[in-house]
């Protein structure tokens, strides 16, 4: 990929949000004395929503923020289009400081460059599906022909053709959220903000909509910030995941990193129940080939099954089922490592193989 394609589209630097009447003083106290959250609550009667959050999202990336309710994730996402003003810190969109924009520029940013989907759908009950979808064009005063064309495209993209002149309360929950999605992509924004978009839907519909969203996302290549309280969803959708707890971003990493190297017990608890089969790659569990050769025989190596370093455990299991040999990991014809049965089983369990360096008993 070219360099420009990997630039940061969203960059948040040191975002603090303190709610309460005396949030300014509380912020001063945090800066000068480093007050803890409890101290802030006791001394200033203020609640810390987001605590020193910094992250950036690259062009085309899907960035998931995962946390339980009350962890501050919905507050954090609202800083990106400045629905909420930070107490401290700044947000940059494609290099522009959002917090320094005037009202007009901010509205233009919201209408043209950022689309947002809400957990509560937040459709306007007095407007038809079509008029909901093109709301952002309407507030910018775009001509009727353009609105009609855009509405038709966006509605087709979410598979709702034929429902244009219905009202939101005539649609099922899943369909309503499709309208929400169509509304968000209608203005063809650079950025999509998804605030728990599928959480209110039942599991089957949720899965369907995730699929729709991922297909759309692959096609449109939008930079996305996706909020969820469901780790499975985060892993399914996200290129990178940030885990949020009590207003703090505990860990940011790829799904594989989060699952294999949890930063603390909190994250470890979360990922404990997650299946590693489609997340962990051979490169992570293999033993380097040189090391292996020193301790173990490599007779009949030609007959060993071969995998690539980024093959997931699922694939390795398929290979292992057909043979008694260990699996060779080859990167561009060069043997880089070996995955023994033991390492594979431990990998599936999500534990390190403590004896990997010692001789493997067959």
């Amino acid at each position: 990929m070219t360099k420009s394609a990997r630039e940061d589209v969203i960059r948040c630097e040191g975002i603090w949000k303190i709610f309460g009447r005396r949030s300014r003083q509380a912020m001063e106290a945090v800066r000068s004395e480093g007050l803890s959250k409890t101290a802030i609550r006791e001394q200033f009667d203020c609640v810390v929503g987001v605590q020193d959050a910094s992250f950036s999202v690259k062009r085309g990336e899907i960035f998931c923020i995962m946390g339980l309710s009350g962890s501050g994730k919905s507050t954090l996402i609202r800083h990106i289009n400045r629905l909420i003003e930070p107490t401290s810190g700044s947000v940059f969109i494609e290099g522009q400081n959002v917090n320094e924009m005037n009202a007009r520029d901010l509205r233009a940013l919201r209408a043209q460059r950022i689309g947002m989907v809400f957990q509560s759908m937040a459709l306007m009950p007095h407007r038809t599906v079509r008029d909901n979808v093109v709301f952002s064009l309407e507030v910018r005063g775009r001509p009727e022909e353009e609105r009609a064309r855009v509405a038709a495209q966006a509605i087709e993209a979410v598979d709702l053709t034929g429902w244009e002149s219905k009202y939101p309360d005539e649609l099922s929950g899943g369909m309503q959220q499709r309208v929400g999605l169509a509304r968000a992509i209608a203005a063809d924004p650079t950025i999509l903000l998804m605030d728990e978009p599928f959480s209110a839907l039942d599991p089957l519909i949720r899965k369907q909509l995730q699929t729709t969203f991922m297909a759309l996302s692959a096609e449109l290549h939008k930079t996305t910030v996706f909020i969820t309280h469901d780790l499975d969803e985060a892993i399914r959708i996200g290129d990178r995941i940030a885990i949020m707890k009590d207003g703090v971003l505990v860990q940011i990493g790829t799904p594989e990193e989060i699952v294999t190297e949890p930063a603390d017990d909190y994250v470890a608890d979360f990922v404990a129940g997650i299946s590693k089969l489609d997340l962990v790659s051979a490169a992570r569990i293999m033993q380097p080939f040189e090391q292996y050769r020193r301790t173990r025989p490599t007779d009949g190596i030609e007959a060993w099954p071969v995998a690539r370093p980024d093959d997931k455990l699922n694939r390795l299991v398929d290979l292992a089922v057909g043979t008694d040999h260990p699996i060779l990991v080859k990167d561009a014809d060069k043997v880089v490592g070996v995955v023994g049965k033991r390492a594979l089983l431990r990998g599936i369990q999500g534990r390190e193989d403590a004896t990997a360096c010692q001789a493997e008993a067959v």
Binding site: R110, M116, H126
Partner: protein, 313 residues
């Protein structure tokens, strides 16, 4: 006299006289001395009300009846139109001049309600947007609704004289509060998520008000309008004390002569007008779902005419 009473801790109020009534009377005297300044405004509104009344009186009763029934059909559907038709025929049959008296009353009520909307809607929107403004207007609204009408009847007459303009003003004082209160309530109870979405898609505060908040608050605002109309009608007898003609005047005169028959004609007339206006304005407030998501021009007499045109086209 107050000055002669010695101060007692147990009954302190008897010995203190701030002379509030005297001072207020002084303000009144000053206002009356300068009342010519109000004359142009008064004559403007007098002309306006007179024009409305003339218009309503000049339309033949049968035509007027049909017009009201058609409006009711359009606004509230066929069933309500039928009720309205029966009610209006009953009104006309009450006595030979009942219809003309009712039109006079309707003209006054119309003028008062129109002014209530012009004043009350913006006030209600402001109150819905600002807690401070709401806190500031609330005592005034409470006063307007509870202070006995006779208290402000006298000063209003002294300032503007008897007649329709004074009648409309005392009616507005009494009938305005529910419209302001319910407009504020309607704006406040709009789903904040929808307003947030409108903000997130770049709407200006003005667009949010006109495209989101007011449309969503409409049912509540119409309930307020309905209350305002009902309260306006309930003021017609009191207004008739300052020489406002119409059904209220019939009731007042009948009371003076202990003429129960005449009182019933006037009283029933007011009740029938109230029923008609209530049903029509309540019909306006039906939600989209209750109307099967059809637009107003797709139903009622207008819908009928439109369909005829479409067929012939």
């Amino acid at each position: 006299m107050a000055g002669e009473t010695t101060f007692s801790l147990l009954d302190p109020f008897r010995s203190i006289d701030l002379d509030i009534d005297g001072r207020t009377d002084g303000i009144k005297q000053w206002a009356i001395a300068n009342r010519t300044a109000l004359q142009p405004i008064k004559s403007f509104f007098d002309g306006l009300i007179g024009w409305i009344e003339n218009l309503m009186q000049s339309i033949p009763p049968t035509v007027m009846l049909l017009l009201i029934v058609l409006v009711a059909w359009q606004a509230a559907g066929g069933r309500v139109a039928l009720v309205v038709a029966v009610a209006l025929v009953a009104l006309g049959l009450l006595s030979p001049d009942a219809w003309s008296l009712a039109m006079t009353t309707l003209a006054i009520v119309n003028a008062a309600v129109a002014l209530c909307v012009i004043i009350g809607l913006p006030l209600g929107v402001l109150a819905g947007k600002s807690d401070r403004f709401e806190a500031a207007v609330r005592p005034f609204l409470d006063t307007m609704q509870t202070i006995p009408a006779f208290v402000y009847l006298v000063p209003v007459v002294m300032l503007l004289g008897i007649g329709n303009v004074s009648g409309v003003i005392v009616t507005i004082i009494f009938a305005l509060p529910p419209l302001v209160r319910l407009t504020s309530l309607g704006i406040r109870s709009v789903n904040p998520g929808v307003v947030e979405a409108a903000r997130a898609f770049g709407a200006t505060p003005r667009q949010i008000l006109f495209k989101v908040e007011l449309p969503l608050a409409t049912p509540t605002i119409l309930a307020g309008l309905n209350q305002t109309i009902m309260l306006s009608l309930s003021m017609v007898v009191i207004a008739s004390m300052i020489s406002v003609k119409g059904l209220g005047n019939e009731v007042l005169r009948a009371m003076g002569r202990l003429d129960a028959g005449k009182a019933i004609v006037g009283g029933l007339g007011i009740v029938i007008l109230a029923i008609v206006l209530d049903r029509v304005t309540q019909g306006l407030g039906r939600s989209g779902r209750a109307r099967n998501h059809r637009h107003w021009w797709q139903e009622g007499p207008v819908g009928l005419v439109m369909r005829l045109f479409h067929k012939s086209a």
